[in-house]
């Protein structure tokens, strides 16, 4: 019937076409799923992908695009470095939570002081917290050979428990009428991460995401480190001969992706979220994995993929309000998208030939 012939290199056409194909296939199958559940598939797809940008309520939803895309892109940039090298940090969600807690801790310790250094110090603390949480699986892998996949993932659950503990214990707002959750940082000006341009949705997290994209591009395509990362991913043995030290690469990739995830968490807690609550984690750390793959681990692709994923979040909320679509349908969409992406990827790696 058919046989697969490995390609020597992935053609650019298919590299660009497969994510687009995957999105289209997800829309079709997702639409069919909605139809099977008794919703109008066309209305659902339009509400998710079109209305947030151009629909009647787009004035409200458009700024949300940057609010949601910022953390996704920031985290995905870090993950892409590791994924390229075959280092699997799938615990970004935990690093995100710990970054937020560390950043918020600085603000809450400084409260009610009014000083210019508070926000910069929070940024440092957030990055350091995420970095430290990411270094745990890195060191355990380097020292003992423990799987970074499982350790980083376990630490997500630990981080969630830490957040819950903080919200009920050490960080509980003393003026919060005994409700769990920290003070709201949006109301504490020196620590707040407000919208920079009114109505744009852009806050410091978005700025950081753009910087991270530029830095990722530079490192991956212009710096020897990018060469090391790519070689280690494609041919680990060859990489050793090229002078790559795998331990350093593991520490670097997990540390950097942890720090970026921590930053994303800090900008979130000081901005849109405002406070540490029991359920602070919002799944950005996991969705960013999809963003990294959908963007083919390339900065430009990550930018587009981040915006698209942000769109599905906003569109999903809109569809929940307008059409009563279940809230979790976005998660299903995202999972399905990753399936299709991985499936269609065969077109970039193999040539399909008719068997003689």
């Amino acid at each position: 019937m058919f046989r697969l012939e490995p390609r020597a290199s992935a053609p650019l056409l298919w590299q660009v076409a497969t994510p687009v194909l995957a999105v289209l296939a997800t829309m079709i199958v997702g639409g069919a799923l909605f139809a099977a559940m008794g919703f109008d598939p066309l209305a659902a797809i339009r509400t998710i992908f079109w209305d947030p940008l151009f629909g009647p309520a787009s004035g409200y939803s458009r700024p949300q695009l940057l609010v949601k895309a910022g953390p996704l892109i920031l985290i995905a940039c870090g993950l892409a470095l590791g994924f390229r090298a075959g280092i699997w940090n799938i615990g970004a969600e935990g690093q995100y939570i710990i970054g937020a807690i560390c950043g918020a801790a600085v603000a809450l310790a400084a409260y009610p002081l009014d000083a210019f250094w508070i926000f910069p110090a929070m940024i440092l603390a957030g990055a350091a917290g995420g970095w430290a949480w990411g270094m745990v699986p890195a060191l355990l892998r380097n020292w003992f050979g423990a799987s970074e996949i499982l350790v980083s993932l376990m630490l997500v659950y630990v981080a969630q428990k830490v957040a819950a503990w903080m919200a009920f214990g050490p960080m509980k707002n003393p003026e919060g009428f005994n409700f769990p959750g920290s003070r709201n940082l949006q109301q504490y000006e020196p620590a707040a991460n407000p919208e920079l341009i009114a109505g744009s949705g852009l806050h410091w997290g978005g700025v950081a995401a753009v910087l991270a994209l530029a830095a990722t591009w530079f490192v991956m395509s212009r710096h020897v480190l990018g060469f090391h990362i790519r070689t280690a991913g494609a041919a680990p043995r060859a990489a050793r001969f090229a002078g790559v030290r795998p331990e350093r690469l593991v520490a670097l990739c997990l540390g950097v992706s942890g720090a970026l995830a921590g930053l994303a968490g800090l900008f979130e807690v000081a901005g849109p979220a405002g406070q540490i609550t029991e359920s602070f984690g919002s799944g950005y750390g996991f969705t960013a994995i999809i963003v990294a793959f959908l963007g083919r681990l390339h900065p430009l692709g990550i930018l587009l993929a981040g915006l698209l994923m942000a769109l599905t979040y906003i569109g999903g909320e809109l569809a929940q309000m307008m059409l009563n679509l279940p809230a979790a349908s976005v998660q299903v969409f995202q999972g399905m998208l990753l399936f299709f992406l991985l499936g269609f990827d065969i077109l970039t790696r193999y040539r399909i030939r008719r068997r003689a």
Partner: protein
């Protein structure tokens, strides 16, 4: 505080059962050379499907059958993608977990706040699923180590190219192993919803699938090791719950970290033993996680 050791052991067996099922299934999958990180997704799928079927029919037995079917069905997405479309196993497994969590969150809403039917009682105050889990350990061991298909399965896992050259159906065997792993993961998940928590809540497996994956490493791909790992995990869980109930002066949230921290500790210990130990211990199957593409 007096604790009756027998009742603690019974609690431990119950807490260990979901992990035991899922880890035994994943063990067979990994012995066939496939790394399926979607255990969590298949468990939560089984937890919902099993609960829904048990609730609708009033029969927990039917629930576990439905859970096995649901877990196997979910695993087939992974199987087709990794075996026919040669996708990356790590990424595909992750996708399965994300998909399973989303799908169950979507379809689980109507079952929130509904109670499970009474569990299947068995001899010695243990339900039938606990007995089935215990029986599966020697059964899987016998299959892998003493039967001919088990030998072929292990050969496929150690070196798929050599197995293929000998004429063994690498892909078909792996599909079967993945399906078996999915069915067991689904049943393990259903144990949580039907027999432990007695209701459905979103994301209720809470990392049990990932713990099962770690237990397989801990067990060094040996069924008896899986039993030990599951009991260890069950022991930590029961201890943690007992301490919570006894009202020790440690916040509940910190106590409930125990299973996850214990998993990391166990993973580190066993990895260190493999790295530094004189005997070395058993290594992972040779072809684990590598895609198989027969050129001829």
């Amino acid at each position: 505080m007096m604790i009756d050791p027998l009742s603690v052991f019974i609690l431990l067996l119950g807490a260990a059962t979901p992990i035991l099922f899922a880890a035994l299934g994943e063990l067979v999958v990994e012995r066939a050379g496939v790394l399926n990180l979607g255990v969590e997704g298949m468990m939560i799928g089984g937890a919902l499907a099993g609960f829904a079927a048990a609730h609708a029919s009033g029969s927990p037995a039917l629930g576990f059958v439905a859970a096995a079917v649901a877990g196997a069905a979910l695993s087939m997405i992974f199987a087709v993608l990794t075996q026919f479309l040669l996708s990356n196993q790590v990424a595909t497994g992750l996708a399965l977990t994300l998909f399973g969590l989303g799908l169950t969150a979507m379809f689980g809403k109507p079952y929130e706040g509904v109670k499970a039917p009474p569990m299947l009682a068995g001899p010695l105050r243990l339900n039938l699923m606990i007995w089935l889990g215990l029986a599966l350990v020697p059964a899987v061991w016998w299959f892998l180590m003493r039967s001919r298909p088990g030998l072929i399965l292990r050969a496929v896992g150690e070196n798929h190219d050599a197995a293929h050259a000998l004429g063994y159906p690498v892909r078909a065997l792996r599909m079967a192993a993945i399906g078996f792993g999915g069915a067991l993961a689904g049943m393990g998940g259903a144990y949580i919803s039907i027999a432990t928590v007695l209701q459905w809540t979103e994301g209720m497996t809470a990392g049990a699938g990932w713990i099962a994956l770690a237990i397989v490493v801990f067990a060094q791909w040996n069924p008896w090791g899986v039993l030990a790992g599951a009991w260890l995990f069950g022991g930590v869980t029961v201890l943690q719950l007992r301490l919570q109930a006894a009202g020790v002066a440690v916040p509940v949230q910190l106590l409930s970290m125990a299973p996850y921290l214990a998993t990391i500790a166990v993973l580190v210990l066993i990895s260190a033993r493999q790295k530094f130990g004189r005997s070395g211990g058993a290594a992972a199957p040779g072809s684990l996680g590598r895609p198989f593409h027969a050129l001829r």
